[in-house]
């Protein structure tokens, strides 16, 4: 696993462009966290990639218009721990009957 931290301006589509650089290569996204960072934003990704893909991804991300900075490193324990916590979190139900939905939102 590699950790990537990408700082970007949160303009339309920038985060999606960052993510599609991975998904277009068939790379799973087991951990993604995007958050504000001072006047910009930061997304942290944990990806299973080979060294060649690390280079390709970093270059692709650098080429995205509103990406400011890209950092890549070996897996960080705290990032992994954070990711593990997300893994056990329950996902919301994607499709529920209208009645249940109304009850939930009431």
């Amino acid at each position: 696993m590699h950790v990537f931290q990408i700082r970007y301006r949160n303009t339309q589509g920038t985060l999606m462009r960052i993510l599609t650089a991975a998904s277009r290569r068939g790379i799973d996204l087991p951990y993604v966290q995007a958050e504000p960072l001072e006047h910009t934003h930061k997304v942290t990704l944990l990806l299973e990639v080979n060294p060649k893909q690390v280079g390709q991804l970093c270059r692709d991300w650098h080429a995205v218009v509103d990406v400011i900075d890209v950092r890549a490193g070996r897996q960080l324990k705290e990032a992994f721990d954070h990711g593990a916590a997300w893994k056990v979190a329950r996902h919301p139900v994607t499709s529920v009957p209208v009645q249940a939905s109304r009850q939930a939102s009431a």
């Binding site: 301006r9 589509g13 462009r17 599609t20 650098h62 080429a63």
Partner: protein
């Protein structure tokens, strides 16, 4: 106060746009309503893909930004192939689409598609406009990003209610980009390393790609090459950047490249790459690409570096700056004499064998056509066998005169792109060359050609097959010609006539021995001399193949040649 549509057009004018290509529809109607007296000429194509390819042709031949306009939904999705094409071939392109009314976005309204999402991975930058006030800034940004760095496509999606609504407008704005930390070669420090590598090299070569043309660095590169005198070859988009008369020039490299170029690339110990992506059509099997070489890569887009394998030296930056800097440094050192290597690389044993097979008539026809072309002509070539024959036989040193869909390989490109080229160059001879398959993909644009009276010379090389696919079926799929037969092609001359365009036909098989018809030269002369649009259908042997060919998965040195 101006309507959003008027603001869009004012901002386009401010960016220097006087010609756009498009096709109207519900969500973009306010923009069309405002066209009159806007100073922007609109060319109506007969399909949105025709519009985006025409905009590409305009951009590729001028270096300016091409603009294509379409409505929401199917209009927008019909632009997608052109957007992908522009991304692959680094064409500056701004696409403007109408979108359903703001309150309806996300409701699957009539003709609603998420074109912003659809094109995220194809565009350099895109924006769904949310207020009328942001239109000037959005358009300024769009043009900035389309032109800057490695040029490419951008997308602006504007809800129809914003095009209709009146908004305060104080004039076009100028976009000031946030600059990233410079990763570019802004000084000459790279030169020392590059020269050291050159001085160690025994068999250096140079590979020239489209980036040299896009950067306007052709003249600078020619100085470098004349100084180095190393064996040099070009990608399909690099053709014309190097004069074919130069003794060190070996022609096109890659899957259908020349024997000399591919062998030199296989043997070199130092590969200088100038503005090329090194895609698989150029490299052959990537793991066996230039196996003995260290690579020095001059490139504006960092995303293109180290894709095949790590470079020894990456020179990131605009080639218009890095190549002259390199030249200055080269003139201050003495270089090795590589004349012996040059003699080997361009030796007579590496010359192209004359075609002895079914391809002969087509090659002779193309040679005759090229022989008669005025020097400042522009060729717009579609995708397939004719594309590779044309690229192999092309002998011009004009930088923007060979236009084709190289990276995406989009059939149907040539005819609409030629419309854009001819409009940008009204006094030049523009020749489109298509296969019978590709011609039918955008054949409706004959109506555009006729309406505008464009004197485009349209050649259809008709072998009644999807020729390149059939060639692969013959060579790699045991001659299983699955769904590539087009023997029931329509009468193209009659179709041209129906559109009001004159057409004529030449048949290669009308004479034995694969000779081209005796009247070919005269017919081509009349064809090119006509002041009107003309169609020339060249019916050639159906089972001709393009050689040399590097099979998929093979190294460049493992070329297939025609059996004698």
């Amino acid at each position: 106060m101006l309507k959003g549509a008027q603001i869009v057009l004012r901002c386009l004018r401010a960016e220097g746009v006087d010609l756009v290509f498009g096709y109207p529809g519900g969500a973009i109607m306010p923009l069309y309503d405002a066209l009159e007296d806007s100073g922007v000429r609109h060319v109506l194509t007969r399909h949105e893909q025709g519009a985006v390819f025409a905009a590409e042709g305009y951009a590729r031949s001028t270096g300016k930004v091409g603009v294509a306009i379409a409505t929401s939904g199917p209009g927008a999705t019909n632009l997608v192939t052109g957007i992908a094409d522009a991304k692959m071939d680094s064409v500056p392109l701004v696409c403007i689409t109408g979108q359903v009314r703001t309150p309806l976005i996300g409701t699957d309204a009539f003709q609603e598609t998420d074109v912003f999402g659809l094109t995220l991975s194809l565009t350099k930058w895109s924006r769904l406009v949310r207020t009328g006030e942001e239109i000037p800034e959005v358009i300024a940004q769009a043009f900035y990003w389309a032109r800057s760095g490695r040029p490419g496509p951008v997308m602006i999606d504007i809800p129809v209610d914003l095009l209709k609504a009146s908004t305060e407008f104080s004039g076009p704005t100028e976009f000031q980009p946030h600059l990233k930390p410079a990763a570019v070669a802004t000084d000459s420090t790279f030169c020392d390393t590059a020269i050291a590598l050159l001085q160690q090299a025994k068999k250096p070569v140079a590979l020239v790609g489209a980036g040299v043309k896009l950067s306007g660095a052709v003249a600078d590169l020619r100085r470098v090459l004349d100084h180095l005198q190393v064996p040099t070859f070009a990608t399909v988009h690099g053709l014309g950047a190097v004069s074919p008369e130069r003794p060190y020039y070996l022609g096109m490299v890659g899957m259908h490249g020349t024997r000399a170029a591919n062998l030199a690339l296989n043997e070199t110990d130092l590969l200088l790459v100038f503005g090329a992506r090194l895609d698989d059509r150029v490299t052959g099997e990537p793991t066996r690409f230039a196996p003995h070489a260290r690579i020095v890569h001059f490139e504006i887009d960092p995303g293109q570096l180290d894709r095949v394998r790590p470079c020894e030296l990456s020179v990131i930056g605009d080639l218009a700056h890095t190549i002259p800097t390199f030249y200055e440094a080269l003139t201050r050192v003495s270089l090795t004499d590589w004349s012996a290597w040059r003699a080997i690389a361009s030796g007579p044993d590496r010359a192209e064998p004359d075609s002895r097979g079914l391809a002969q008539p087509t090659i002779r026809f193309i040679d005759e056509l090229f022989h008669q072309l005025p020097a400042d002509s522009t060729l717009v070539v579609d995708v397939g066998q004719h594309q590779m024959w044309a690229a192999q036989r092309y002998r011009s040193s004009s930088a923007r005169s060979f236009i084709t869909s190289g990276g995406l390989g989009a059939m149907g490109f040539a005819l609409p792109a030629a419309i854009g080229v001819q409009l940008a160059n009204p006094d030049k001879t523009v020749v489109s060359i298509s296969g019978d398959g590709g011609f039918q993909m955008n054949i409706q644009e004959l109506a555009t050609v006729k309406r505008l009276g464009l004197p485009i010379k349209m050649v259809v090389v008709d072998n009644k097959y999807l020729g390149m696919v059939r060639q692969w079926q013959e060579l790699f799929y045991q001659r299983n010609y699955a769904e590539t037969d087009m023997s029931d092609n329509p009468n193209f001359v009659a179709i041209a006539y129906a559109y009001g365009i004159n057409g004529q036909r030449l048949r290669a098989d009308s004479v034995s021995g694969f000779e081209i018809p005796a009247e070919t030269s005269e017919q081509i002369e009349k064809f090119l001399a006509s002041p009107h649009p003309e169609l020339l259908v060249f019916e050639c042997p159906p089972e001709a193949n393009v050689y040399p060919m590097v099979a998929p998965g093979a190294a460049l040195s493992e070329m297939l040649f025609e059996e004698e």
